[in-house]
Symmetry: D2
Subunit: 261 residues, 4 copies
Amino acid sequence: MAKRGVMEVSLIFPEAEVIRRYYRGLIYLAARTCYSEKTPQQIWDEFVSDKVPPERVMKLIEHVVESGHHSTIEHISFTFAISGVSRALSHQLVRHRIGVAFDQQSQRYVKYKEPPYVTPPTISENPEALAEFERLRDESETVYHRLLEMGIPAEDARFVFPNAVATNLIMTVNLRQLIHMAGLRLCTLAQWEIRQLFKLIRKEVMQADPYFGKLLVPKCVPLGYCDEKRNEDEHCRIRPHKNSVFRVWELYKQGKLKEVE
Amino acid sequence: MAKRGVMEVSLIFPEAEVIRRYYRGLIYLAARTCYSEKTPQQIWDEFVSDKVPPERVMKLIEHVVESGHHSTIEHISFTFAISGVSRALSHQLVRHRIGVAFDQQSQRYVKYKEPPYVTPPTISENPEALAEFERLRDESETVYHRLLEMGIPAEDARFVFPNAVATNLIMTVNLRQLIHMAGLRLCTLAQWEIRQLFKLIRKEVMQADPYFGKLLVPKCVPLGYCDEKRNEDEHCRIRPHKNSVFRVWELYKQGKLKEVE
Amino acid sequence: MAKRGVMEVSLIFPEAEVIRRYYRGLIYLAARTCYSEKTPQQIWDEFVSDKVPPERVMKLIEHVVESGHHSTIEHISFTFAISGVSRALSHQLVRHRIGVAFDQQSQRYVKYKEPPYVTPPTISENPEALAEFERLRDESETVYHRLLEMGIPAEDARFVFPNAVATNLIMTVNLRQLIHMAGLRLCTLAQWEIRQLFKLIRKEVMQADPYFGKLLVPKCVPLGYCDEKRNEDEHCRIRPHKNSVFRVWELYKQGKLKEVE
Amino acid sequence: MAKRGVMEVSLIFPEAEVIRRYYRGLIYLAARTCYSEKTPQQIWDEFVSDKVPPERVMKLIEHVVESGHHSTIEHISFTFAISGVSRALSHQLVRHRIGVAFDQQSQRYVKYKEPPYVTPPTISENPEALAEFERLRDESETVYHRLLEMGIPAEDARFVFPNAVATNLIMTVNLRQLIHMAGLRLCTLAQWEIRQLFKLIRKEVMQADPYFGKLLVPKCVPLGYCDEKRNEDEHCRIRPHKNSVFRVWELYKQGKLKEVE
C-alpha cells in the first residue's frame, strides 16, 4: 500500500508479457507499412507467425528511432499510476499536450481526511526550515477541516491547501511523447521532483522492457551535446556543451587542429 | 491474403483477451482516481484482485461516458491495419489530429508493381462509366511504369496516379477520438468510402468487445437529433431533425400541445 | 494598474480595428477556398477590395459556424492577458490542449515580495471562515519569506503557497477552441472562478466585436438542451434538460400529444 | 491573378504593419509574464507606451528562441494562401497536426471546369516523359468531364484525377510550428515540391519581417549538424554531418588532436 506522501509510480498497462509479444511488432508493422507494397495484414501475419527474425525487427526499430521516423513509435503507449507527487509537479506535468492523457485526483470533489504532503529535500534537510514547513502544513490541514465544518464547500476550502499537498494521476503516453518528456525532465536542470518522477518511470519501463527503458534519457544523449543556456564550466558532464563541441569543430575545419602521432 | 483493391480492416492490437481483462479496468481506474482519496495503485489492486463487482465497474464506465467525462476514455487505444482504401479517403482520414497516430504506405518510397484501385459504386454500377474508368486506370498504370523506365523517380512518376489508387495505413486511436470519428463518419451524409471504413472498424471492435463496439455510432445517436444542415424532410430518420424536436418543444412550452387520453 | 488579487482580463491582440478589418474576411476566405475553383488569392483580393457585400460574408460565416464546418474558425485567434486568478483555476485552465497556447508566471523563477491572493466568495461572505483564511494566508506568506531567508530556493519555498495565491497568464486561443472552452466554463455548474474568467473574456471579445462575443455561450445554447448529469428539477433553466425535451418528443411521436385549438 | 498550376504563396494575415507593431511585443509579453511579479497588463502597457527599448525586446526574444522556451512563440501566427500545389504535396502537408489550421479546396464539392496541374521538373525536362504525362493529364480531364455528364457525382468522378491536380489551401500556423515545419521541409532531402513551398513561405515572411523570416531554416542550422541517415560524403554541406562533428570531438577528447602553431 502506498505510504502518505511518498512518490510511487507503477506501470499499469500493458504488462511485460504483452509488451514483449506485441510492442516491437507494432513499430515494425508501422514502419514496414510505409515502405512495402504488402498490406499491413500480410506484414502482421508474418510477424505473429514468427517468420520475421527478431534481429530484423530490432534493426528496423533502431533505424526508425535513430532516423527520426517517429510517427512509428506513436502506436505504442504506456499507462502509469502516479501517486504522492505535489500539485506543483502536476501543474507542470499536465502542460504536456500531445500523445498523452491525464486523469487527476480532484481537489474539488475529494473531501480529504488526511491529505498527504511532499516535502522538498532542501527543507527536510534543514531542521529549522522543516519545523516551519510542518507547522504550516498542519495548520493548513486544520483550517481546511474547520472550513468544511463551517459549511464551506470542498472546492473552496482547498484554496488553503499548499502546493505541497500530494496528488494522484493516471497518465497514458505514447512512446514518442514519453521519450520527449523524459528528454526534458531527466535533464539535471529539471525541477528535482519531476526529475525523480521520470527516474521512477524509466525504472518501471526498464523492468518491463529494457530496450524501451533505455530510450528514456536526457535529451543531451541523442543530441550528443547539452544545449541548455548555461556556463559551459558549470554544466553536468553527461554530454559536452554544444559550444565546446562546435569550437573544436571550427578549429578543426580551419586546420588549426592536427592529429598527433 | 488481402485482395487487390478490396477494403480490409483488422484490429491488430490489443487482442480481445487483453481488452476483456484490462480495458474496462483502465477506465474505472481513471475515473475513480479523480474522485477518491485512495491512490490509483490501491484502486488498481482492488480491480485486478476481482474485489470490484463487474456491475460496479460498468456502472461507473457508463456514467463517465454519458456524462461527458471523456478524459477517462483517452487511456485505451486500438490499433487497426487498414488496406484497400483510396488516397481520396486517406487524405480526408489523416485530417484527424488528436488522439490518433497514422503511418501510411508511401508513394514516394514504394515502387509499385501493380497498384490496387478502388472503384466507386456509382461507377461500377454504370457499364459505360466503368469502361472509361478502367481504361484510364490501366493507362495511368502504363504511363507510371514507362516513366519509371525513363528514369523518372518514383516520387515524381506517382504524379500520374489517380485518387483511386489504393493505399494502406496503420491507425492507432484512443476511444475518445474513435467515438468522435465514428460519430462523423458513420453519418449517412459522410462520403460513402469513409463510411464503409468505419462500419468495418465498428465490426472489428464489436467482435473484440461489444460494449465498446456499441459506442461507435453516428453522432445523432448520443445527441438525440440530427444537426446537419439539410431539409428536414430529406434526412435519414436514424434520429429526428433538431428543428423538428425543438418545434414540438416550443409548442409544448407555449401550452399548444396537450396530452390526449 | 492591476489591484492585488483582483481578476482582470484584457484582450491584448488583435485590437478591435484589426478584428473589424480582417477576422470576418479570414473565415470567409477559408470557407470559400473549400468550395470554389478560384484561388484563395483571388477570393482575398475580392474581399479586401470590398467587392463582396458584408451581408454575403456574414451569411457564409453564420452558415459555417452553425453547420459545424469549424476548421474555418481556427484561423482567427485572440490573445488575452489574465491576472489575479488562483493556481486552482490555472491548473484547470491549462488542461485545454488544442488550439491554445499558454505562458504563466512561474513560481519557480519569481521570488514574490507580496503575492496576491484570491478569496472564494463563500469564504469572504463568512466572517469566521474569512478570519481563518486570512490568518493562514498571512502565515504562509511569512513562512515563505522565512524559508527564502534560510536559503531555501524559491522553487522549494513555494511549496507552502496555498492554491489561493494568484497567478498571471497569457493565453492565445483560436475561435473554435474559445467557443468550446466558453461552452464548458460558462455553464452554471462550472467552478465559480473559471466561470467568472470566461465572463470577463466574453466581455472583452464583445467590446471588440459583438458578433464573435455572442458566440461565447454555455454549451446548452447551441445544443438546445442541458446534457449535464443532474436532476431535471435542479437545473439552471438557461435551456430545458435533454430528458425533458425528448420525453415530450416521445409522447408526440407516440401520438399522445395533440395540438389544442 | 494566379496562373494555372503555378505555385503561389501569399501571407494574408497579418500585414507587415501589424507584425511590426505587435508581434515582437507579444513574445516579449509572454516571456516576461513568466519571470515577473508584474501583471501582464502592466508589462504590455510599458511595451505599447514605448517604455521598453527595442534592443531589450529583441534580446529577450533571441534568448527565448535560442534557449528553447518555445511556448512564448506560440502566441503569434501567420495565415498563408497557398495555390497551385499538387494533392501529393497537400496530403503530406496536412499531416502536421499541432499549432496549425488548414482549409483546403474540396474535390468532393468543387466541380472543376479546368483543373490546374503540377508537373514535376524531372518530367518537364524530359520531352518523352512530358508527352506521356500531358497525354494522361488531358485524358483524365476528359474522362472526369464525361463521368460528370453521365451523372456520376463529382465526389466519385474525382477518383480519376491524378495526384498532379493542383489544390488550394489556407494555412494558419504559429511561429513555433512554422519553425518546426520549415526545419523539416527546407532540408535538401525534402520532396522538391514541399521544399519549394517553404521557400516561398520564407520569402513572404522575410518581406513582412526579416527577423522572423530568418528563423525559417533547415533544422541542421539550429542543430549545428545534419542528422539525416545518409552517407556523410553525399550530404548537402549546409552543415557538417553529426558523425563528422563527433568523430572530431572524440579524437580531441582522447588527446589525439592538438592545436598547431
